[in-house]
Amino acid sequence: MKRGIPWGIIVLLALWCLLSFPKLIDPLYLPTPVAVLREFWASVSSGLLPRHAAATVYRLVVGFSAGALVGIPVGLLMGYSKRVYSALEALIEVLRAIPVIALFPLFLIFFGLGDRSKFIVAAWSSSLVILINTMYGVQHSSTVRRMVARSLKASEWQIFWKVVLPDALPEILVGLRTGVSIALIVVLMTEMFLGTQKGIGQMIYNAHLMYDTPTMYVGIIASGVVGYGLNLLLLTAQRKVIHWKGDFQNE
């Protein structure tokens, strides 16, 4: 894959330098890249940033995995069986309409301030988009391919596992990628507001309370790096798993 020059990032960095070095913007709001970089090394070498990042990634991975473990099977069932679909469709629509923030306090009551409620919130929000995408993938899987299998005397079970599931795989992976981004947002928010000592969200929020803007920027950038890394991981998996679509050839 050939890469062009990432002009966007270069321009953004240049703008940052231009605004911060001559102090066009108060350093309290926008420290220089050098100050942020210094803070970054300090928090890395003290082990603070790695510890925060590890806590966030851990919550994210546990919550997201749980979300996938619920979202994929239910999505498959809803996509494949009209009966399951009509039984659950309205419920899913209602649940989807509730912003997950509205549920934070509820989860707190049930699961406490610890990691468990953070897992649940991440799992909750990611499972819903994974479910929807999976269901869509199954519903839009090729009828011709199913007919072919039927004409070859495949059992219903074989059609599901050997035809419908692989056919839905691209959509499932889209769901997973969206799900992981949503889970990251939600985990950071829980870290900010649901008392905890560790996590990138907590790091950002705390730095904000102390007007420690360099650390705040370090946290913001770290959260971006985590999100980007996870997305890259899933993108690589996607290319490996669905290389047979042949549409990554010219990218």
């Binding site: 090729s142 011709v144 391919r145 007919m147 072919v148 299998a149 039927r150 004409s151 070859l152 005397k153 495949a154 059992s155 074989q158 050997k162 035809v163 692989p166 795989l169 669905i242 290389h243 047979w244 679509k245 042949g246």
Partner: protein
């Protein structure tokens, strides 16, 4: 799998086959009658082409024949010493293969469904491809193949299934003009080698006659047989046969009968 002869080829006998679909009008009780009583006999190893107007019910007929749709009335019997499987070749080659399976595994897919081990089924598929003379990269994936190659691959898949009857629904319709000719000749070759009973739908009268032992003309829906025209041209046939007088005569006769029926 006995490839060298037509041991597994089946004869087909259709009696008074009728099929209708729920009507689309306001009247809930009205039904759209598509197959209006079809009687047809096809001998073991025969190649029969079907020709009929758009939307007359050819696909419906083939679906009922291959057991993908139930009939309302009438019978289809498929008789052979061996298999009574019907292998279906769909028009849409893009969607009839499994893109996530290697080419060889697409051919071997029916064996996978039957629980044959991977090494065994690949070996059989490889043998079949060699026997048919299909030069297709076995470890590649369908998206890398041309439309014609993909269609030939689905034919090979139907053959490994031990289909007693091959049913092809406009298999060349999605192919480009020049590929049609090569694939047409490959189909003739495959049929000559395997002598599998074949029912072939085409919108191209020339192609229909070129491949057939017999041409069957269908009416508008409710679909009935207007006429059956034997095609006693020598085989193997090549492009030159299209210019022969006999070919021309058959084509003119078929089109004349067809036009008369359409005008009624």
């Amino acid at each position: 799998m006995n490839l060298e002869s037509n041991h597994s080829a089946a004869s087909v006998s259709v009696r008074n086959l009728r099929k209708s679909f729920p009507g689309s009008g306001d009247d809930q009780t009205s039904r759209l009658s598509v197959l209006g009583g079809i009687d047809l006999d096809v001998a073991k190893g025969e190649f029969v082409s079907f020709f009929g107007p758009n939307g007359c019910g050819k696909t419906t007929f083939l679906s009922v024949l291959s057991g993908l749709l139930p009939a309302d009335e009438g019978t289809v019997s498929i008789d052979s010493a061996g298999q009574t499987h019907v292998g279906v070749i769909f028009q849409n080659y893009r969607e009839s293969l499994y893109p996530w399976l290697r080419n060889i595994d697409n051919v071997a897919f029916p064996l996978e469904l039957q629980g044959v081990s991977r090494s065994k089924r690949r070996e059989q598929a490889q043998q079949l491809l060699e026997f048919l003379g299909l030069k297709i990269p076995r470890d590649g994936y369908p998206y890398q193949l041309s439309g014609g190659q993909q269609q030939l691959l689905s034919i090979a898949r139907a053959l490994i299934f031990n289909a007693g009857v091959l049913v092809m629904d406009e298999p060349f319709a999605s192919l480009d003009y020049s590929t049609r000719f090569t694939v047409r000749d490959r189909v003739q070759e495959i049929w000559t080698k395997t002598r599998t009973t074949t029912l072939f739908v085409s919108h191209n009268i020339e192609e229909a006659i070129y491949l057939a032992d017999r041409l069957v003309l269908f009416s508008k829906k409710p679909m009935r047989i207007i006429k059956e025209i034997p095609v006693p041209l020598p085989r193997p046939r090549g492009a030159s046969i299209l210019e022969s007088e006999d070919f021309f005569r058959i084509q003119v006769q078929a089109l004349k009968v067809f036009k008369e029926a359409m005008l009624q």
